[in-house]
């Protein structure tokens, strides 16, 4: 029993650092999600557009992101851009890289949602004299939101876990924090497990939030 208390005491001292790192993870995740929704919506609309000028960049964006490793994308933003004269802080670089990365997957999710809306609903809106923007905001997107909520929150969870990759570009998030403590204490098992459990708590909370949102949006119709 005493051993257990001693054990806990040896870890407890580091918890404030871990919690601070969790806060960084949450900030990163929220910002990345926002960026991904903007990129994703734009790309999804581009992919379904009848105009090539919108379709080709959207197709290229999704193809490139899905075909290359996330880590390489992060390196291109953080290490590569300075060579072209654009220096970014690790945090900003991380948000951009992961936001743009997640955006490609969000684009495919939203595109699936857009295609699920029967064409007749758009036609009847057009026949009544509604504009493209009115049709999108009043008819299509409200329904798409409900359809894509489950896969979008799944993608958000993936983004949260991907923030651990930002440890490679000196962002002091949870994984990096664990590594720093481990290099001082030489107890990799203990502290990587702590980090994993903290990720688990955050992803579980995120999934609970998504379940709550889904229920809130539940089948009125």
């Amino acid at each position: 029993m005493a051993g257990l208390l001693d054990y806990w005491a040896s870890i407890a001292g580091y918890m404030p650092n871990f919690f601070a790192a969790c806060w960084v993870v949450l900030q990163l995740t929220v910002l990345c999600i926002l960026v991904s929704w903007i990129c994703g919506l734009a790309a999804a609309l581009g992919k379904v557009s009848p105009y090539r000028i919108f379709r080709w960049p959207a197709d290229f964006y999704v193809w490139f992101i899905r075909g290359t490793p996330t880590l390489v994308q992060i390196f291109i933003v953080y290490f590569g851009l300075p060579q072209l004269g654009m220096k970014l802080s690790p945090f900003i670089a991380g948000v951009i890289a992961l936001g743009v990365n997640s955006g490609a997957y969000v684009a495919e999710i939203i595109r699936g949602g857009l295609l699920a809306i029967p064409k007749g609903q758009v036609e009847s809106a057009a026949a009544l004299g509604m504009s493209y923007r009115q049709t999108m905001t009043r008819i299509v997107l409200p329904q798409v939101v409900r359809i894509v909520l489950p896969p979008i929150t799944n993608e958000a969870t993936t983004t949260l876990k991907n923030t651990s990759l930002l440890s490679t570009i000196t962002v002091v998030e949870l994984t990096m924090q664990a590594q720093m403590i481990i290099s001082a204490t030489f107890r990799p098992f203990d502290f990587y497990i702590i980090a994993a459990l903290l990720y688990l708590v955050m992803t579980t909370l995120l999934m609970q939030l998504s379940t709550w949102l889904e229920r809130h949006q539940a089948l009125k119709y």
Binding site: Q121, A127, L128, G129, M130, Q134, R138, K220, Y221
Partner: protein
């Protein structure tokens, strides 16, 4: 007999209208006039181009060639700007085979959406008008229900009312009873009959031959992208001159469909 009365200018006028989808010519030169208050039935086999004809009028399909006139104004469908297009469409109501109500909105919200969003009507005024229209078709108590709770016939009548709420000058009906169970067809046709009686200008693509005969003024038979025969409905449908019209009517009437109103 595709022209309307000589003294009154036509509300809708098509001159040699053609429409191709890629290499396929669907409409090969259709000319017709529709006078204000006229009810025109358009019959023909599937693939004959009758739906396309209807959809060219409100530019859901822009024609490839030919003249399109609405309310004595020629429509330059190739270069019409979006605002004028929306204004044109707000004056022509359309009801579809699959009703196309918006499932995430209640019946009332479906009906007031376009008057508020497109015409800028005040919400209270739109609601008042919508409730009047819904009461007229006996669905006032369903106004806060979602479309999924209504039968097909009820949904289709709501779709008609949704188009009517825009106070259109003319209405297009694209096989509006074809997707309905037979026992629900009557209530929709009755509503169309009422609208006709009130003087609405209507173009009705339909398989319901009895309806065409009893309610419409003139009938056009579309065959392979042209109007093969046209004439006063009663006369044309009981004594068609064209052999293909005769064949078509034989097939439709023989199958038992088209006589739901008997």
């Amino acid at each position: 007999m595709t022209e309307a009365g000589i003294d009154e200018p036509a509300l809708i006028r098509l001159v040699d209208l053609k429409k191709s989808f890629g290499k396929t010519e669907v409409l090969r030169g259709v000319s017709l006039d529709v006078a204000r208050g006229e009810v025109i039935a358009i019959i023909g086999a599937s693939g004959s181009g009758k739906s396309t004809l209807l959809r060219c009028i409100n530019l859901l399909e822009p024609p490839s060639e030919g003249e399109l006139w609405f309310d004595q104004e020629q429509i330059d469908y190739g270069r019409i700007d979006r605002r004028r297009l929306r204004r044109l469409r707000s004056q022509i109501g359309m009801v579809f085979q699959s009703y196309n109500l918006w499932p995430h909105m209640t019946v009332l919200e479906n009906v007031i959406e376009a008057p508020v969003t497109v015409k800028g009507l005040a919400k209270a005024a739109a609601i008042a008008r919508a409730e009047e229209l819904l009461a007229r078709i006996g669905l006032a108590e369903k106004r806060h229900d979602y479309p999924s709770r209504l039968s097909g016939g009820q949904q289709q009548r709501v779709a008609v009312v949704r188009a009517l709420a825009m106070a259109p000058k003319a209405m297009l009906f694209d096989e509006v009873t074809s997707a309905l169970d037979p026992e629900l067809v009557g209530e929709v046709l009755d509503l169309l009959g009422e609208l006709a009686h009130e003087g609405m200008t209507m173009l009705v693509v339909t398989h319901e031959i009895a309806f065409a005969r009893d309610v419409s003024n003139r009938t056009f038979f579309v065959d392979q992208g042209v109007i093969a025969e046209a004439g006063p409905s009663q006369k044309m449908l009981s004594q068609p001159q064209n052999e293909r019209t005769r064949q078509f009517l034989r097939r439709v009437l023989h199958s038992g469909a088209g006589m739901t109103r008997l």
